[in-house]
């Protein structure tokens, strides 16, 4: 089954599409595919995402959403097709299934490590501001091993946003987030318009009207 791809506003043929056309291309993929050993997890996907767009990737479990995002992040390479991402990995923010944090370290220490690796100017201020915004400031000196899933997800979001990425890849960002966390995330997504975002979710209604494009992956 070939995944369908449509751009909101396309049928209207209106001004919105024109705007997208003029934007610089952020992601360009043709016939993208990936298999693990003999198992194909993603087949023949075409995607174009312009800078500043928000692409929502939907599909049932096992349709390859996670694989697509890992491909876009450069964590894995495609086994078929071509893929171009306009920014290098220093400008990509990635939120995966795992929080990618050290359990033995505190939120401050975790973010400080990443802050150093990403060479963020005024690291402390940025980290403090993010922890404050995501309601983790009180817990900043506790080991993350004791955190709940929801708190880990918030901290992982801080990690992904830390270096103010130009391309933000979010894999099931709403999982384990409570109403407050969801609110914060939606607030963040509505905020910077120059940032390109790709969200994979099986709960598209959570995003409301924000997405500017959709990609529906079918079962492979």
């Amino acid at each position: 089954m070939v995944p369908g791809y449509d751009r909101i506003g396309e049928e209207a043929g209106g001004a919105e599409l024109q705007i997208h056309r003029r934007l610089a291309q952020m992601i360009h993929a043709r016939g993208l595919g990936r298999r693990y050993g003999d198992k194909r997890v993603l087949t023949d996907v075409d995607v174009d995402v312009g800078a500043g767009e928000l692409l929502l990737v939907t599909g049932p479990n096992g349709s390859g959403k996670t694989t697509l995002l890992r491909l876009l992040a450069g964590l894995i390479v495609p086994t078929a097709g071509e893929l171009e991402v306009a920014v290098d990995r220093a400008r990509i923010g990635f939120l995966g299934h795992e929080p990618l944090l050290y359990r033995e370290l505190t939120p401050l220490e975790n973010l400080d490590l990443y802050g150093r690796l990403y060479r963020i100017p005024e690291r402390r201020e940025r980290i403090g501001m993010l922890l404050e915004r995501f309601g983790l400031w009180e817990a900043r000196r506790e080991q993350t091993g004791a955190f709940s899933r929801g708190m880990l997800q918030r901290l992982a979001l801080c990690r992904a946003l830390l270096h103010e990425p130009d391309l933000l890849l979010l894999d099931e960002p709403f999982s384990a987030l409570d109403a407050g966390g969801t609110e914060l995330l939606l607030d963040e997504l509505g905020r910077a318009s120059s940032r390109t975002v790709v969200v994979a979710s099986h709960l598209p209604e959570r995003l409301g009207p924000i997405p500017s494009a959709r990609l529906a992956l079918g079962p492979t």
């Binding site: 298999r35 693990y36 050993g37 003999d38 086994t79």
Partner: protein, 212 residues
């Protein structure tokens, strides 16, 4: 493959050896087999290097096949060396024969290569990981050689160079060269057969997948 019969000829023609008697004849098999194994490991490392440097994906199977053949010849070296030791010194194994010890280390090393390959998911990453390990093998070879020398000196001090240059007669040398050529050809033929087999296998899997 015809050269393999040449090997038999060389064996029958050459037996004009000096003091060691017929046991010396195994030398014509043992040493060429060992040199061929080195050549295979060297080839594997070269292909591994090509894979890492140029991203040549076909080099993965080539390097793997070369290791495969190299291990077979390495095992053969151990067996013939063991027979030689039995005939010459009356024991199946002697630690004083450096080449044999080196082959034991290499055998262990390249067996681990297979373990590594079998327990990693197929894909570009396995290709590169195997390539790195094969490359390590090529570096380990001279380092181990040096290590064995150093260990020998520590355990039973002896002059460093106890074997000086070729003291073979012309006919012996010619037989030796023919044997070496035969072994290299045999290894090359096996390599090509095995490589074709592995390629066909990989192609088949791809086709089956396309059909599925």
């Amino acid at each position: 493959m015809l050269l393999v019969t040449g090997l038999g000829l060389a064996l029958l023609w050459a037996p004009e050896d000096a003091d060691q008697g017929p046991s010396q004849r195994i030398f014509y098999i043992h040493v060429p087999v060992a040199l061929t194994a080195y050549a295979c490991f060297g080839w594997a490392a070269w292909k591994a290097f090509r894979l890492l440097w140029k991203g040549d994906e076909r080099a993965d199977l080539e390097s793997y096949t070369a290791v495969h053949i190299g291990v077979i010849f390495g095992l053969l070296t151990l067996v013939t060396g063991s027979i030689w030791a039995k005939v010459s010194w009356g024991v199946w194994w002697t630690w004083s024969e450096r080449q044999l010890v080196l082959f034991l280390i290499l055998f262990l090393f390249y067996s681990a290569y297979f373990m590594l390959r079998y327990s990693t998911e197929p894909g570009p990453r396995r290709a590169r990981t195997s390539a790195v390990y094969a490359l390590f093998g090529a570096v380990l070879l001279p380092v181990s050689f040096l290590a064995i020398r150093l260990a020998d000196q520590l355990l039973h001090p002896a002059p460093l160079f106890n074997r000086d240059g070729p003291q073979m007669s012309a006919s012996m040398f010619i037989s030796f060269c023919v044997c070496l050529a035969a072994m290299l050809t045999l290894a090359g033929a096996l390599y090509l057969i095995e490589l074709t087999g592995k390629r066909v296998d990989a192609r088949l899997r791809e086709l089956r997948e396309l059909l599925a």
